[in-house]
Symmetry: none
Subunit: 156 residues, 2 copies
Amino acid sequence: MTLNFWLRNRSVILYGVSLAVLLLLMKWLEWRFIIVDHAFELYAGALAIIFTLLGIWLAVKLTKPKTTTIIVEKEIFVKNDAFILNTNELTRLGLSKRELEVLQLMAEGLSNHQIAERLFVSLNTIKTHSSKVFEKLEVERRTQAIDKAKKLNLIQ
Amino acid sequence: MTLNFWLRNRSVILYGVSLAVLLLLMKWLEWRFIIVDHAFELYAGALAIIFTLLGIWLAVKLTKPKTTTIIVEKEIFVKNDAFILNTNELTRLGLSKRELEVLQLMAEGLSNHQIAERLFVSLNTIKTHSSKVFEKLEVERRTQAIDKAKKLNLIQ
DNA sequence: TTTTTGCTCATACTTTAGGGTGATTTTAAT
DNA sequence: ATTAAAATCACCCTAAAGTATGAGCAAAAA
């Protein structure tokens, strides 16, 4: 407890002790070399300087450091791969759900045969769907359809 | 409020009190051992207090606050149309310049015939190129090639 | 210089894609 | 209940795509 008190307040205690020592020293000096002219002014000046420095030291030591928080916004460019289906365009073109499904699988590189298997329908059905898709998208080839559909955000 | 004031300034108050105690101690010491003018000590004490306070004030006023910079990441979603060709993948796959050119035109929806016309070569040449492209990309269809090439950033 | 690589083209053949037409069934809307 | 759209499937035919093989030529690399 006593040790704790010492640790917590050693700055103050040290200060008091050193002040006492300083004053005693000055007194002794004064007593020793009292001959000096304007002794009082010098003494006061020294005191002022010393205690100003002491005050600065105290403030720096004992006050919490000022902190200014600067918030800087760092712009991070993120690739917008969050696909948002263009519903407007979809309804405008009149593409049905199934047709869009076929178009999506086309874009993934599947052949008509593979799409038929995937959707559990016949090859002819897929042909009919794809033909309708090309008609509605006003294209002639699946590659064109894919390109256009991607540009219109109809598929991913 | 008063308690808060105490907590915030206990260092300074403690210092003041201890200074007062110290001065009393000195007075007592003076009265006990040394015979000097009383006014001077009071003056010195006042000086000490004033200039210590001045030092504290100076320090508080003039110290630069520590700045903490907090960087907040602000996400900006950008359409990533800044295409960067994946040269590593390109050389890894061993795709030639011409083959890449054909692949690019494929992705734009052109037929082999159209590509041939565009590049002023025969249809058979384009067929050869496309076959090589499929081989190197390890795919069977142009739609697959397009899909893979886009995912690998080989084409736009 | 020789070799390799890239680009070109051809022929023959197979597979896939696409167009046209028509029909049935299911689902949704009027 | 009727109509309309969507989804399904078939057949026929043509066009395009893709495979395989061989070959000529020019530029770059060994």
